[in-house]
């Protein structure tokens, strides 16, 4: 039995929001499926609308305000994510992409994610797979195979419930696998990081790197090729 920390990121801005509704339905499925399998689930919701006042500073100066900081802290600890965005003008909401552009590249490596979007028309259905999936591939997350998309007509269609069920189960299985934790334990160093990245958790300093050798009076050249390298003496 595991206690899973599930984080929901919703970019819906109306209240009530159909985007938030989609995220909540997925979250409920994840929770009940996980509980049936003997786990507990703790959920944290990041309503991106509440981060709007801090967004200009975050985007222009990389200054994260208190709400952004809390959101990043929740994401660092997350075992799984449910993310959902409305589709505007045939693309993801600017708020949604802005949020994920601001956070560190290595914050979500290996974490399983349910991708969801809502729209006023079914013609936007591929935004999840063509745009959102690419963003989460860049972030090296593990999106579940089933994408969620709900346009107006889907809300009355049982098929949406079936897809939510399927995506929920996929997320639970991926969380159970412990993939993200195993990646962190076994091959974290093989991903690119910078000092203070991964939400301020990446603080190891490798004193034996080539750059550190250069920092301490050494050379980048191979000492055998370099007649002046002090290491040859």
């Amino acid at each position: 039995m595991t206690d899973f920390r599930l984080v929901i990121v919703s970019a819906g801005v109306s209240d009530p929001s159909s985007t938030r509704l989609l995220a909540d339905r997925a979250t409920q499925r994840v929770s009940s499926l996980a509980e049936k399998r003997g786990h507990t689930v703790t959920t944290t919701v990041i309503d991106l609308r509440e981060l709007l006042p801090e967004l200009p500073a975050a985007m222009s100066s990389q200054l994260l305000g208190p709400r952004f900081t809390r959101a990043v802290d929740a994401l660092v600890r997350a075992d799984g994510l449910v993310v959902a965005s409305p589709v505007y003008k045939a693309g993801l909401s600017g708020l949604f992409t802005s949020f994920f552009q601001v956070i560190d590249n290595d914050l979500l490596i290996g974490k399983p994610v349910i991708l969801g979007a809502t729209a006023g028309t079914a013609r936007h259905a591929l935004v999840v797979d063509e745009e959102m999936r690419a963003l989460f591939a860049y972030l090296r997350t593990l999106p579940v195979p089933t994408s969620l998309f709900a346009s107006t007509e889907d809300w009355t269609d049982k098929a949406l419930g079936a897809r939510i069920e399927r995506a929920g189960r996929e997320l639970v299985l991926l969380m159970e696998s412990g993939f993200a934790r195993a990646v962190r334990d076994e091959s974290w160093d093989s991903y690119q990081h910078s000092y203070g990245s991964a939400g301020g958790t990446e603080l190891d300093i490798d004193l034996s790197s080539d750059m550190m050798r250069l920092a301490t009076g050494g050379s980048l050249r191979d000492s055998d090729d370099d007649p002046f390298d002090p290491r040859r003496a």
Binding site: A57, L63, Y195, L214, A215, T216
Partner: protein
């Protein structure tokens, strides 16, 4: 503890008057600002280096030599000197010359520069910024300490038998600060050589700097230059002072809101909360500045940014008056009271470095031998060389 000002040399439209100073006006203004810094009792003037408009300071040593000539006590320095796009040979020559003209009243701070298009103008590539900075300093360090240098690296053309002239004043290299806010390698290099470490302390929350300053102190001790408390730390900061908090906010707001870098972003109030910016009465600026010592430990140099974002000369001079009269004297007294006796009060001056190298003996004054037409044959190019070559190959 030294207090001073640092300028990035931006030429920015004054958002209140709508006036954009000409380059000539701004260059005249910066000289007056530097001279006034000494008049109000500040210790340090630092100028940045940029190679693109809207900045004027492409040639910091020329400006600083002029300012040194107009002042008597003021320490002139940089914020920062680009160790990436400048040839370290030119840096060795230019700053040694400045050191002679300023009679040792100078030091310099090295930084990488983060404007990508500038690098190719100087034949470099920003993607190599870090190794360039590290390797270039390694060479600069030797050029000031060895009369004749043979050297080969990744970036610059190799040197055979090169002598950087003039040799540093009293054959004691200028004190060097390494500026960085997020790169452990730079902190490591500063620690390895026993140089100073400077965190600009302007845009980011203190946690960013806190970690690297701690790391620098630990490594300074590791390399045997002294204890962690003896490591030499400098900090930036940004202030705008008026008689009371409301006036300070009202006067500074239009400049803040349109400032380069952070303008049109966070609100001034948020920026004050999240960063070291202090806008307010002298007491408020004092209180906030005192928190730096609590966060980072005893440090030796505090530089304030006061002349950016289009603030007119008159306002900048008034800011200096307020700093010099109401803020710095209180900070000096309070920080001196708080200072652990183990921590140095000031960064090393030229006189300190001469004393450390020679004790009570006279300093070396290099005198060149007659021109040999090259720099490769023979021993040292200087008369007091210990490695004279006694015999030349004969046919």
């Amino acid at each position: 503890m030294q207090f001073g000002i640092m300028s990035v040399s931006d030429i920015t439209r004054d958002p209140v008057s709508g006036h954009t100073p000409s380059e000539a006006e701004r260059i005249d203004a910066i000289v007056r600002i530097a001279v006034h810094a000494e008049e109000v009792g500040l210790d340090v003037f630092a100028i940045g280096e940029h190679h693109n408009p809207p900045f004027f300071s492409s040639s910091p040593t020329t400006l600083l030599a002029h300012i040194a000539a107009l002042t008597e006590r003021l320490q002139v320095t940089t914020s920062t000197t680009l160790i990436t796009t400048n040839d370290p040979v030119r840096l060795a020559e230019d700053y040694a010359m400045l050191q002679h003209l300023a009679k040792g009243r100078m030091d310099l701070m090295l930084g990488r520069g983060n404007t990508a298009p500038v690098y190719p103008w100087f034949g470099q590539d920003i993607r190599q910024g870090l190794p360039l900075a590290l390797e270039n300093y390694n060479l600069l360090h030797r050029l000031w300490r060895e009369d004749v240098v043979d050297w080969e690296g990744q970036f610059r053309t190799p040197l055979q038998g090169f002598t950087s002239t003039p040799r540093p004043l009293d054959d004691v290299p200028p004190f060097v600060w390494h500026g960085s806010i997020r790169t452990p390698e730079i902190a490591e290099q500063a620690a390895f050589y026993g140089n100073g470490y400077f965190a600009n302390n302007i845009f980011w929350p203190k946690e960013h700097y806190q970690r690297l300053i701690r790391f620098y102190r630990q490594r300074f001790e590791h390399y045997g230059h002294g204890t962690q408390k003896q490591a030499v730390v400098g900090l930036g900061g940004q202030s705008f002072i008026a008689k009371n908090s409301q006036d300070a906010h009202a006067q500074f707001r239009p400049y803040f809101d349109e400032a380069p870098v952070y303008g049109h972003g966070p609100s001034m109030e948020d920026f004050e909360k999240m960063t070291p910016l202090s806008v307010g009465s002298p007491q408020e600026v004092i209180d906030k500045t005192l928190t730096f010592q609590e966060f980072f430990g005893d440090y030796q140099r505090q530089l304030f940014l006061v002349d950016h974002a289009g603030l007119p000369l008159k306002t900048v001079l008034e800011q200096l008056d307020l700093l010099g009269e109401h803020v710095v004297p209180v900070l000096r007294e309070e920080l001196e009271k708080r200072r652990d006796p183990e921590s140095p009060a000031n960064p090393p001056s030229h006189a300190d470095l001469v004393k450390a190298k020679y004790g009570d003996a006279g300093a070396r004054q290099p005198r060149p031998n007659a021109n040999r037409g090259d720099n490769v044959t023979g021993g040292s190019p200087y008369q007091d060389s210990e490695t004279e070559v006694s015999a030349y190959p004969t046919l």
